[in-house]
Amino acid sequence: MNYQVKQLTLSLAAALALWTGPAQAQEFESDFASEFTEAAGAMAPAQSAGPAWTGFLSWEQGGHFGEPSENERQRVLDQTRFRLKTSKSTEVGKLDLKLDFVDDGVLNEAYLDLREGRITTTPFSWMDLSVGKQVNTWGVGDMLFINDLFPKNWMAMFLGKDMEFMKDPANSARVSTYLGPVTFDLVYHPQFAPDTTPNGCVFAVYNPNSLLDASQPALAGNAGACGSPPAASLRDGQYDHDEIAGRLKANLGGFELALYGYHGFYKNPRGMELSVDSSGAMSLAAIYPRLSVQGASLEGQLGPGIMNFEAGNYDSLDDPDGTQALIENGALKGLIGYRMDFSAHFSAGIQVYQETMKEYAAYEQSIVSMYQSMGLSEAMAEAQPGYIYRKEEQHQTYTLRLTFKAQQETLWINFFGYQRPQDRDGFYKLDLTKRASNALSMTFGVNLFEGDVHYQDRDFGMLAAEDNAFLRLTYNY
């Protein structure tokens, strides 16, 4: 399968470049002929009943900054992607299809990636129903997600892939009802769809077992050791592994007010389970604890810019009292942000995000108990490579986005940064995109991580040595 897909991707790519490319380009050009009366005729086929295929061919390369350690890879991104995309709408409904042929040189695999395969119908004038593989998004945060618990791909973010890959598609059914000024959406995932997080295959990640065994490094995985850290798992068989999310939204004089609910699981492995085998050896495995969230958001124009506010109450269902050190404590989360255009060329946005642990006293106590159960005093635990520094009750995240566009918006320079003082880590991305023609564009950028060597269990901190640069060429057809 793998080999066949690779062959198929390469031959499709070659076919596009050698044959389809120029032909398509020509057709595209004739679409845009200067004499529009003639162009209208040429454009008609794209408008006709038959499915029109479009898509792109992209080539991406990403490299680690400097000399990588034995834990790290020199090349972190090497991907050729060929997309076939089509849409067909009829009286009864609409089909959207996006199929990618991917050849990945880092993981040395080729595969088919169904990015979208959904059918949308309107059973009633006030209802839309969409079923299949699809991407769902809501919430008003810019790269901060409180009530959006749809699967995200953090690896795409950390490797500098196009923003569309920040969201992972998943099998779901979405019902949207429109009753006057109020919209109600319900999304059901029959199978839990977690975020794609660093798993040791490309970047070295925190190894929880280093907490138990001082001979193990705090960071593990990577080149040649892909998949060696325990794969994060749900507690198999204990629960139905489905997810449900809902949103109620209304317009209030230019402001959009929304209420949210979610029942499912933490989207990244925010829990660990300690197990002891027959020989008495202990090990830790990452799990996705159960989660329930209720929240609200408000967004709209305030003065010259856009204000966004969002809040959520996270109930950690597997640790309601906060007594389990290895399971994420429940929290109250909130963010407020403002973004505005300063000129036709420059815009900026800032956000402040705050997270408050709900059962902090119980959490503190649970940490002490945990080390005791491992037969360690806290001082002894601190000497272990994977020692987890006690978290603080309050955590903040600050984000900054700067966007500069020039040359009639064919040149974009984007900066986005996260800064988290209590976790002593951060992530910064700077990229430049140039559109050379209707078909061709190029993106170049860097991804920089910040972290404290003592805080290697933290999201960005564990990636502190993984700074990388990337280049992407895209041919749209």
């Binding site: 699809q134 124009q301 023609s437």
Partner: protein, 266 residues
């Protein structure tokens, strides 16, 4: 010859100003209705060609624009559905144009299913990177300016009024505008935009005009930015333009961002 013109100009200036001021406003109102409020609603497939500095190949965008007049000469709604290039296919843009306050703008990015609230404060910023501003595309309301009739002139064999409009409230870019408005159809044939240095920074020209459903429709518009050396052409597909389709206001709601009314777009 020069002397003759000077005499004409002197004669024009000597005419009663009050009568002229009123008719200038009437002309601009009619021009606004003719170019932005034709029909109660409508659709058009448009091709926007943005030429880079110094010429060269244009970067193009193909889209269908639906519009509805909420009040004749007042509030309007627009839904734009992008068709090409393929990377922006299915991107939709909803604008509720308001008079005397900021527009409501929502951009939908289909690949990430994201609805982005866009500030409607900067009406003079470029529309999709082109030489046209948001306001040039959706129409500048006549109440924002003081209007003065400068005279009449024949432009490309068409008799036209020349109207000068000056913003009532000082603006960042526009110091004044000078428009040539056709006497028969009230279609603006040419508009010069002057900056605060007194120089022309944008020139608008109407190209081809056609009768569609009995309504005079601009099929080809050009906006040039002489100081920057850039140019944008906006063309309407004669086979994909229609008026009075009976579009309801619900077509211009957030629902259409994600599930656009394909029956009007196909």
């Amino acid at each position: 010859m020069f002397k003759f013109k000077a005499i004409l100009l002197a004669a024009a200036l000597a005419l009663p100003l009050s009568a002229y001021a009123e008719s200038a406003l009437e002309i601009v109102k009619k021009a606004s209705l003719a170019s932005y409020y034709a029909g109660d609603d409508g659709k058009a497939q448009m091709l926007m060609k943005v030429y880079p500095q110094g010429g060269g190949k244009a970067i193009s965008k193909l889209f269908v624009m639906l519009k509805k007049d909420v009040a004749e000469g007042g509030e309007q709604m627009f839904l734009t559905y992008f068709q090409r290039p393929s990377d922006i296919q299915k991107t939709t843009f909803l604008v509720h144009k308001k008079i005397g306050e900021d527009d409501l703008r929502r951009l939908y990015l289909p690949a990430s299913d994201k609805v982005l609230a866009i500030s409607g404060a900067r009406k003079q910023d470029p529309f999709m990177g082109s030489d046209f501003s948001y306001e040039d595309v959706s129409g500048r309301h006549f109440s924002k300016d003081d209007h003065k009739l400068l005279g009449e002139e024949t432009l490309k064999e068409q008799a036209a009024f020349i109207v000068e409009s000056t913003p009532k409230v000082k603006e960042e870019k526009i110091a004044r505008m000078k428009a040539w408005i056709a006497k028969d159809s009230y279609i603006p044939l040419k508009v010069e935009f002057y900056d605060h240095q007194g120089e022309v920074f944008k020139i608008y020209k109407t190209g081809k005009v056609m009768e569609i459903d009995g309504i005079t429709t601009i099929m080809h518009q050009v906006m040039e930015s002489p100081k920057r050396g850039t140019k944008t052409e906006l063309l309407v597909n004669p086979k994909q333009v229609a008026y009075n389709l009976g579009l309801s206001e619900s077509v211009f709601s957030e629902r259409s961002l994600k599930n656009p009314p394909m029956q009007y777009i196909r």
